[in-house]
Symmetry: C2
């Protein structure tokens, strides 16, 4: 079982979600396709378990973070840890935190985030919404990166900056009257860093939360 999940994660890490096929997995394990069905009920179950498997490591990282005096600072650190985990494994993308309903590492991560909000002067409803919002910001920003990059970026023949630059070029060619905003921010888009973008969005949510909590 452990070997099945390790092999599944390895396939996902190497070539993304589309690389995880039962045949490829069986080949890597040196067995037949059918035998995998003894361990998992199907492909969805396999993916769920693979996700839970890697979230175990993320949970350990989050638990190991020393808590500061400021719950909101702690929430920031945790959210960044979650974001970085998705950057490392883009295939987590949208599936991340999808299974809060069943007991597992998703739920434990949810609890870790939520525990910080217990230190804030909020109603339970406000806490529920605050944690959902933070998870939403992480997932919303990371989902963009979950999509497999175009082949010319993946194989390194064109780097990311050049790739962004091409689109920036196209944006600059747009009519200035019709697209005033796009023109206003095109220089920021050109060569932008996804993590910085995420951090800025997170900061807005945390600022709103701090205001709400009067902290």
């Amino acid at each position: 079982m452990e070997a099945v999940l390790t092999a599944a994660v390895a396939l996902l890490d190497e070539a993304g979600e589309s690389a995880l096929t039962l045949r490829a997995l069986a080949a890597r394990l040196g067995t037949g396709v059918g035998s995998i069905y003894w361990y998992v009920s199907g492909k969805d179950d396999l993916l769920d378990r693979a996700i839970d498997h890697v979230l175990g490591g993320v949970l350990t990282a989050v638990e190991g973070q020393t808590t500061s005096g400021d719950p909101i600072d702690d929430l920031r650190v945790m959210a960044v840890t979650l974001f970085d985990a998705i950057v490392d494994r883009p295939w987590l993308g949208a599936h991340f935190m999808q299974d809060i309903d069943v007991p597992g590492n998703s739920l434990r991560l949810y609890e870790e985030l939520g525990r910080q909000t217990l230190r804030l002067d909020l109603t339970p409803r406000q806490r529920f919404h605050a944690v959902s919002a933070i998870v939403g910001v992480v997932v919303g920003n990371a989902a963009d990166m979950g999509q497999e990059p175009p082949p010319e970026v993946l194989d390194g023949s064109v780097d990311r900056d050049e790739f962004l630059g091409r689109y920036a070029e196209a944006w600059r060619a747009l009519d200035a009257e019709e697209f005033p905003f796009v023109h206003d921010i095109v220089d920021e888009f050109d060569g932008h860093d996804d993590k910085e973008q995420f951090l800025a969005g997170l900061e807005l949510t945390l600022a709103g939360l701090r205001l709400q909590a009067g902290a």
Copy 2:
């Protein structure tokens, strides 16, 4: 071409993303599989065009919204319109706003949102981040709903409240020492409304933005 996209959207609306197969689409159009390839380069292209097709309607709705005196109020109204569009068509889910790079309705919606930030006292970088954050909140909250609901909810034999109630029950059974946050918010989770949750998260981002803009 128009007929192809209309039929594709109909399939997606009726039974979700998995229902859009080239064979099903060809059958509905009364043609052969191969003929679809004359209009689109492949399945990904088909999905992209179907998304752009429905975003046309969303764009019209957004453009029709009268602007108020407060740019942040206008951003809220627009974000809600986007969210509602995804609620109506869960298959838009994560793909929503995925193609800002190519000129199309995604880019125009992006421009519409961004135009409101031009009325705020912000730097271009802050505007770029603000719009990304709002799109992130919409996508992050809507992505949760994009996953197909379990069959017993879909066929109506179990309603959503009962479904949530079951998980709430399981949560209440968890150890109180180990899961203090989950216990704190379980009554809020039970029977919660996804839209309310989204609105609360959006409000935090908008509050942070208002603070940043000094408005």
